[in-house]
Amino acid sequence: MSTTREFTITREFAAPRELVFRAWTDPRHLTRWYGPRGCSTPLESISADVRPGGAWRATMILDATGQEFPTGGFYLEVRPPERLVFTWREPGGDAESVITVELADLGDGRTAMTFHQSGFTTQETWENVQDGWESALERLSEHLAGHTTEEGTGS
């Protein structure tokens, strides 16, 4: 392969990581920031079943033309408030990426975010993702088992 379809962005936010994590997972937050400038993502277009295997979707609308760009995918790993991994169906296409968001507490109410996006270009990456799915499903079943034995209703 000539180039790898992946990149990393790091950012620092003046907000505690619990809040940053919520901003990534709560539609009421996502509608305020998801998508480049010149786009809006209406609240009613967003849904997020935030658990391993759960689906999410969000449709961006290009303000200039009204053209719609549906995006969506599945959560692979959900570890509030530090790590979120999900698939991302690219706007305007069928290709998918895996996105990993890691949040580090810097103290003083500040958070460092490491964002990584990796597109599927080879059979190998597909297989990695499928492995990821298997472990996600294992975790899901462990999670469900834990809930049953603890008779938990969730926190």
Partner: protein, 109 residues
């Protein structure tokens, strides 16, 4: 690789966005596109060149008319994947940063 920058630069201008909005309804000639704007044909042609270079529109071969049409989803271009999506997220994160600041100021954290 500069092409994606060209896309965003092209979209940053209100006249060019209006031209794209018009082309979303179907192809049009330069004269037709110039009509709603109080603008000379050369000025409109200049905007069209920017849009064409960004891959947002294509133009017919007929030398006289050269009707313009919208090109769908230039962001799907494989070669520009990284640039496109990096830009996508950088802009989103600028908005996220603003949103988080507003939340904090509103004391609703």
């Amino acid at each position: 690789m500069e092409k994606l920058d060209a896309v965003f630069a092209a979209l940053a201008d209100p006249t060019r966005r209006a031209i794209l909005a018009r082309l979303a309804d179907g192809e049009a000639t330069v004269t037709e596109l110039a009509e709603p704007f109080a603008m000379s044909l050369p000025a409109v042609s200049k905007h069209l060149k920017v849009l064409e270079r960004a891959g947002l529109i294509s133009r017919g071969r007929n030398a006289q008319q050269r009707p313009c049409r919208l090109v769908a989803a230039p962001l799907a271009d494989v070669a520009e994947w990284v640039l496109a999506y990096r830009r996508f997220w950088e802009e989103s994160f600028d908005r996220l940063d603003e949103h988080l600041r507003e939340m904090q100021e509103g004391g609703r954290a």
